[in-house]
């Protein structure tokens, strides 16, 4: 068996083998795999729950693969929600003919990423669809975590916005790896688990209003969502958002705005002024936070909910959600 066949998804002998030889072997969840559901004990009573499906193309890219993303993506959603990830589930949809060696590489990346973050993958599922009815492999992960974070209180005027590092790395890494628009770059995806870094960084701080991971839609979309949901105005400083040189160059060539490119290992914080300095300092001590910066501040604690950019020309302009697809401009 070198490739996945439809029979691997029928629930019979081949499914059993795939589970035993690939998934259980990597995830070490034998005790759970035999049952309809995994059972685990949780100490606290407040749970965080999240899910994401991963359909990234190409499946392998500089800095990781779809499996890395599937694990870090869900861990990060729990981590920015102030939760300690307890357990994850993983659902695979495989296209008939998918190379088994690729599947193993993906699953092993998931296992090592989960181990690094101290999270168990306790339940899984595999479906196989006919050739041409999927694109290699899609992965869904769902995670539950135990909420530890205290409430950081309402967002106030003067609160700072911090990003934990350079933005757009994942977006440009994928675009380069996709090899469609002729872009050549060495940018690596930033995909990484933010847990337990985030719990260390926010430890003991009472003024962390909100954390987010600015994935699809990028930094701008994540901040617009924060502004709208909390009905506050945030003003970013043009040029303050940390950017890798190559990411800036790639955006210049293709006409993309890096604020709308996906990140997979960055956190966004809104925190009161005092805690912001503390967060920044703590971030700078971590490898994943060394490029962290304060990129803006809350200018109105009660508003219609707007994200503004203070331009170098001195004026402000409003930033909106990503609208439509990111497409290279005409010329």
């Amino acid at each position: 068996m070198k490739r996945i066949s439809l029979a691997h998804g029928e629930g019979g002998e081949l499914t059993e083998r795939l589970i035993t030889e690939v998934f259980v072997k990597a995830f070490g969840n034998e005790a759970h795999a035999a049952y309809d559901a995994a059972v685990l004990e949780s100490a606290g009573s407040t749970l965080a729950i999240t899910t994401d499906s991963f359909v990234v193309k190409p499946l392998f890219f500089p800095g990781g693969n779809i499996g890395t993303l599937a694990v870090t993506g869900t861990i990060n959603d729990l981590a920015v929600s102030g939760a300690v990830p307890l357990a994850m589930t993983a659902g695979f949809i495989l296209e008939e003919g998918f190379p088994l060696s690729d599947l193993k590489a993906i699953v092993s990346a998931m296992a090592s990423e989960a181990e690094k973050a101290g999270v168990a993958i306790v339940a899984g599922d595999t479906k196989v669809v006919a050739k041409g009815e999927a694109d290699g492999v899609f992965i869904n992960t769902a995670g539950i975590g135990q909420v530890y974070g205290g409430n950081g209180g309402k967002i106030r005027e003067g609160d700072k916005v911090i990003v934990s590092g350079t933005v757009g790395d994942h977006g440009i890494a994928i675009l380069s790896a996709r090899n469609e628009l002729g872009l050549l770059s060495d940018v690596k995806s930033d995909c990484a688990s933010l847990h337990p870094m985030l719990s260390n960084i926010t430890y003991g701080l009472s003024g962390v209003r909100i954390m987010r991971d600015p994935t699809r839609g990028g930094l701008a979309t994540a901040l617009v969502e924060i502004c709208e949901h909390h009905r506050v105005t945030v003003e970013l400083e043009e040029g303050a958002v940390p950017l890798k040189r190559e990411v800036e160059g790639a955006c210049d060539i293709l006409g993309f705005d890096p604020l709308y490119l996906a990140n997979e290992g960055k956190a966004l914080f809104v925190a009161d002024e005092k805690d912001a300095e503390q967060i920044l300092e703590r971030l700078h001590r971590e490898e994943k936070g060394k490029d962290a910066r304060i990129i803006g501040r809350v200018t109105e604690a009660v508003s219609a909910g707007r994200l503004l950019m203070r331009t170098a020309a001195g004026s402000t302009r409003r930033l909106h959600r990503l609208s439509g697809l990111i497409l290279p401009r005409i010329c």
């Binding site: 628009l181 020309a313 001195g314 302009r317 409003r318 439509g324 697809l325 401009r329 005409i330 010329c331």
Partner: protein
């Protein structure tokens, strides 16, 4: 490039803004009104909006956008024809990203894709030739929209297809030229402008001297301008200074790339493959010899000759793009702006092209 740092340096930008404002105030003191400047190029429109300079100058300089967005100036019928091409069987339609969400009378290219048509965005026209090479059993058509900056690239694509002896590649030409539309605009008396910021990259191809008619025949000044914040401000300053001083020269403020006669190779490639055509412009009707099409000898690469697209009658909308590209109104003057018409649900091309004036205003200048 190190010089770029200067052009985007916040401190330089701020003092440049002040410099322009001061010059403009002098003009206002002189004329009891603000100077009216048309930026001909859609990328200038975008750059002014995005950099915040337009907002910063808004009380002192009236910057109005001209017919410089290639998608926006294209007649609706031509847009519908291009979208109609997506319906052809066994055809791969290649386009710049800009065209994807442009509303046709019935649907957009995104809609066509969504319905299963093979529509692909390419970065460069030459990439579409590669697609044709790799898909010999399909017809590959590139949507050839653009001004002088882009036309040489279309020539390059045809040249490559010719060399590869491809039988399945063609370009649907709806190109536009700058000089004829500026003349039409000025002749109509509709453009009440004091001077022009002239398109930097068109000028790379056509050269400084291609604007002599402005001063010689219309007595209007112009500055060939780059696209970085300080370049925008420098160009605007020089134009306002000329206005203040009553001069009407064509100043080349982008000499690092724009020469006296432009790019000779680009011009000669254009002459090799293309010939003049009368083109329909949105809101302006047909302008004689205002575009380029493939010569008879290259009919094999001419999608218009190879494919027949029947275009049903255009949908009538309240879109005022036609007036916007002539600089007659600002997007905010359109009743649909930001209401019935948004980038997600655009009514006119100006709202979705990355160089569209309504898009620039919606994205970067709308406070609401």
């Amino acid at each position: 490039m190190d010089v770029m740092n200067f052009y985007t340096d916040p401190a330089v930008i701020r003092s440049s803004v002040e410099k322009v404002k001061n010059a403009a105030r002098d003009f206002r003191n002189q004329h009891q009104r603000v100077p009216v400047i048309m930026e001909v190029c859609g990328s200038h429109t975008m750059a002014f909006a995005r950099s915040g300079i337009k907002t910063a100058l808004k009380d002192d300089v009236n910057l109005i956008a001209g017919p410089g967005c290639p998608v926006c100036v294209t007649d609706q019928k031509a847009i519908d024809a291009m979208i109609g091409l997506a319906g052809k069987q066994d055809t791969i339609l290649c386009t710049f990203g800009d065209m994807m969400r442009v509303p046709g009378s019935r649907r957009s290219l995104v809609d066509a894709r969504t319905e299963g048509k093979d529509v692909r965005v390419v970065y460069s026209p030459v990439d579409s030739v590669t697609i044709a090479e790799r898909n010999p059993e399909k017809e590959v058509v590139f949507l050839g929209i653009g001004f002088e900056t882009t036309i040489p690239l279309l020539a390059m694509a045809v040249r490559k297809a010719e060399r590869l002896n491809l039988k399945n590649y063609s370009v649907w030409m709806t190109t536009k030229l700058v000089e004829p539309v500026l003349r039409t605009l000025l002749d109509s008396g509709e453009a009440e402008v004091d001077g022009f910021l002239l398109p930097g990259h068109v000028s790379v191809v056509s050269g400084e001297k291609s604007y002599r008619f402005l001063t010689a025949e219309y007595g209007l000044p112009g500055v060939i301008t780059g696209f970085e914040p300080v370049q925008l401000l420098s160009g605007t300053y020089k134009l306002v200074r000329m206005l203040r001083e009553g001069k009407h020269a064509v100043v080349n403020d982008y000499r690092s790339v724009v020469g006296q006669s432009g790019n000779q190779i680009a011009q000669s490639l254009m002459t090799t493959y293309f010939t003049f055509s009368d083109e329909e412009w949105r809101g302006m009707g047909a302008i004689p010899a205002s575009g380029l099409v493939l010569k008879e000898a290259y009919a094999a690469f001419d999608a218009k000759r190879r494919f027949n697209v029947t275009v049903p009658p255009q949908r009538k909308t309240a879109c005022r793009c036609g007036e916007i590209i002539k600089g007659r109104i600002a997007p905010e003057d359109c009743a649909l702006f930001g209401k019935g018409c948004t980038p997600v649900n655009p009514v006119g091309p100006c709202m979705v092209s990355t160089e569209g004036t309504c898009a620039a205003h919606y994205q970067y200048m709308r406070e609401e």
